[in-house]
């Protein structure tokens, strides 16, 4: 139901992002999607990768602070207003969205990654709404 996201703490310093990507490359971990905001001092690089455990291990060994977080991958219909309708359902149930970014799964449809306050409840609601969730296997 959930997918494992790899979250890495990086200082906002020249070359740091490249170092993370290099570690992943060296350990043969493929990046499926990522998100990074333009904060001033430091940032959290959030990644969906084909092998999250291997990615975490490699990063930690190279001195990075890395962890795995459960997130939801939601498949969307490509039409105006669909995402809004989906979020309306979630928000009505008192669930807060912490962050969200786009996910490319290589199919025609779009997908998003979301992290919400009550992940279990959010997943249940989405299932009730007959929304299809992205599985770990699909991005592996």
């Amino acid at each position: 139901m959930y997918i494992k996201q790899l979250s890495v703490f990086i200082e906002n310093r020249e070359g740091r992002l490249e170092e993370v990507l290099d570690v992943l490359k060296q350990s043969g971990v493929n990046i499926v999607s990522l998100s990074l905001a333009d904060t001033s001092e430091y940032g959290l690089l959030r990644l969906l990768v084909n092998n999250p455990e291997a990615g975490k291990k490699a990063l930690r060994e190279n001195g990075f602070s890395a962890m795995l977080t459960d997130v939801l991958g939601v498949k969307l219909c490509h039409r105006v207003g669909y995402l809004q309708e989906l979020l309306e359902v979630i928000c009505k149930n008192g669930i807060n969205i912490e962050y969200m970014y786009a996910l490319s799964t290589g199919t025609d449809d779009a997908s998003i990654v979301i992290k919400t306050s009550d992940l279990e409840k959010a997943a249940a609601i989405l299932k009730e709404t007959a929304v299809e969730l992205v599985t770990q296997e699909e991005i592996a």
Binding site: Q5, S7, F9, I10, E11, T39, E41, Y42, L44, R46, G63, F64, S65, A66, M67, T69, E98, K115
Partner: protein, 433 residues
């Protein structure tokens, strides 16, 4: 274990020894050290003016500057051929300070260190690994001969090559570690990275740490990494006086016992130079009363402490000096506020989400001092909110302790510099200071 009977003498016995030795030392420097005689003449004191221990206050102070002015051997009280060893301080600011030992000086040194090592729990059964840098620095060889005299098995591994250090600890069954507190932390970190947990996989039960301040927070951090049952004691000394062995903590950890038959401690007001009554806090001044090579009288240590004369629970009757808050040399003046780096260290060690390593960077912009503290994030997180909260927590704790605001920079683990000797954690980039 109490090593020598001199550690349990009555006050009267201690003072009788001190007076005899003080008189001898004053006469010795008057007769043999022209630079010293001149200092005494300038102060209007002659050897016969010293009749009681109180008369010590008539003698002029000696400072590091005197040692520099008389570089290298100008204050030595023996002919060069009587010297059997020379050590020198690092001399980061100018010429090093040079110290010399006669054969008897080395015997005294060994005796002093044997006492403080025994106070810290060392016995002949210990395997003692000395992770102080061997060389001109007095720390390593001082501890070396003291521990050897006790009968411990020495592993003189010096500093560096931390992985090999851990291998020795494991394979030789090291039970006693000599290091600076910051290098002891580093070694634990290296062990963990090798898959060795110092608490379970190593048998280090005694830590004799020195050459750097041991704050209570640092002692707690040592316990966290090396195990709660490790007896971590600090000891005190400086090359000008001899090296390590001037004083040390016993198992009760209530101040460091001074080897009073060899050193007379005084506390002075650093501004006026006046001697303060027992129990008051001020600058520690130490007189060597049994040394031949370099018998400094009233040496200003720049360390701030107070003296405790009540006998200790351990049975020793020697005067204790309270563990140090910091050296007057290390004190920073930030926006007019006096700050000891150790105060910042205590705050950093009290926050679980960050590691024990830190760097303080001081800059000045628009005539205002700015303090940045770089720390390593240990807590793994996926939340900006949590990162902000960690920053806020450190900031507010610092504000309570120092009354100052600082910029906190969170860094990835293992990015800050590690130290094998004395840690240099402050970068003062302010101009004109």
């Amino acid at each position: 274990m109490i090593w020598s009977k001199e550690e349990t003498m009555s006050r009267a016995e201690i003072e009788a020894i001190q007076l005899t030795r003080l008189k001898d030392t004053v006469k010795q420097v008057w007769d043999k050290v022209p630079a010293y005689r001149k200092k005494m003449e300038d102060a209007g004191v002659k050897p016969e003016d010293i009749q009681t221990l109180k008369d010590l206050a008539k003698m002029p102070f000696v400072t590091k500057q005197d040692l520099r002015d008389n570089y290298p051997f100008g204050l030595f009280a023996v002919d060069k051929e009587e010297l059997v060893r020379i050590h020198a301080s690092s001399g980061t600011t100018g010429k090093p300070t040079v110290v010399g030992y006669t054969k008897r000086d080395l015997e005294m040194w060994t005796e002093c260190v044997s006492r403080i090592a025994a106070m810290g729990g060392a016995t002949k059964k210990d395997v003692a690994q000395i992770c102080f840098g061997y060389g001109m620095f007095t720390g390593a060889l001082g501890l070396h001969f003291g521990l050897e005299n006790i009968g411990a098995t020495l592993v003189p591994s010096s500093t560096g090559n931390s992985e090999k250090q851990i291998m020795y600890m494991k394979d030789f069954g090291t039970t006693l570690l000599v290091a600076t507190p910051s290098y002891a932390l580093r070694l634990a970190e290296v062990a963990l990275s090798m898959g060795i947990d110092p608490k379970k996989d190593l048998n280090v039960k005694i830590g004799l740490v020195g050459s750097e301040l041991l704050t209570e927070a640092m002692r707690e951090e040592m316990h966290k990494l090396w195990g709660d049952d490790m007896l971590v004691t600090s000891n005190y000394g400086m090359s000008e006086l001899m090296g390590p062995g001037v004083s040390g903590e016993c198992e009760h950890m209530c101040g460091m016992h001074i080897n009073e038959d060899y050193f007379i401690p005084e506390i002075i007001d650093p501004k006026t130079g006046e001697v303060l009554p027992p129990g008051e806090k001020g600058e520690l001044v130490v007189t060597c009363i049994y040394k031949e090579g370099l018998p400094l009288i009233r040496y200003r240590t720049k360390d701030v402490t107070r003296l405790i004369y009540e006998p200790c629970k351990c049975g020793r009757t020697t005067c204790r000096m309270e563990n140090l808050d910091g050296r007057t040399d290390d004190m920073l003046k930030i926006r007019g506020v006096n700050v000891f780096p150790s105060q910042i260290e205590e705050v950093i060690l009290s926050v679980d989400e960050i590691g024990p390593h830190y760097e303080i960077i001081l800059t000045r912009k628009d005539h205002a001092d700015r303090m940045e503290i770089r720390v390593e994030l240990l807590k793994e997180t996926d939340s900006y909110k949590e990162l902000e909260e960690i920053e806020k927590k450190i900031k507010s704790k610092l504000r309570i302790v120092l009354g100052l605001d600082a910029k906190i920079s969170l860094e990835s683990p293992n990015t800050l510099q590690r130290f094998e000797g004395k840690a240099k954690r402050v970068k003062d980039l302010r101009e004109g200071i």
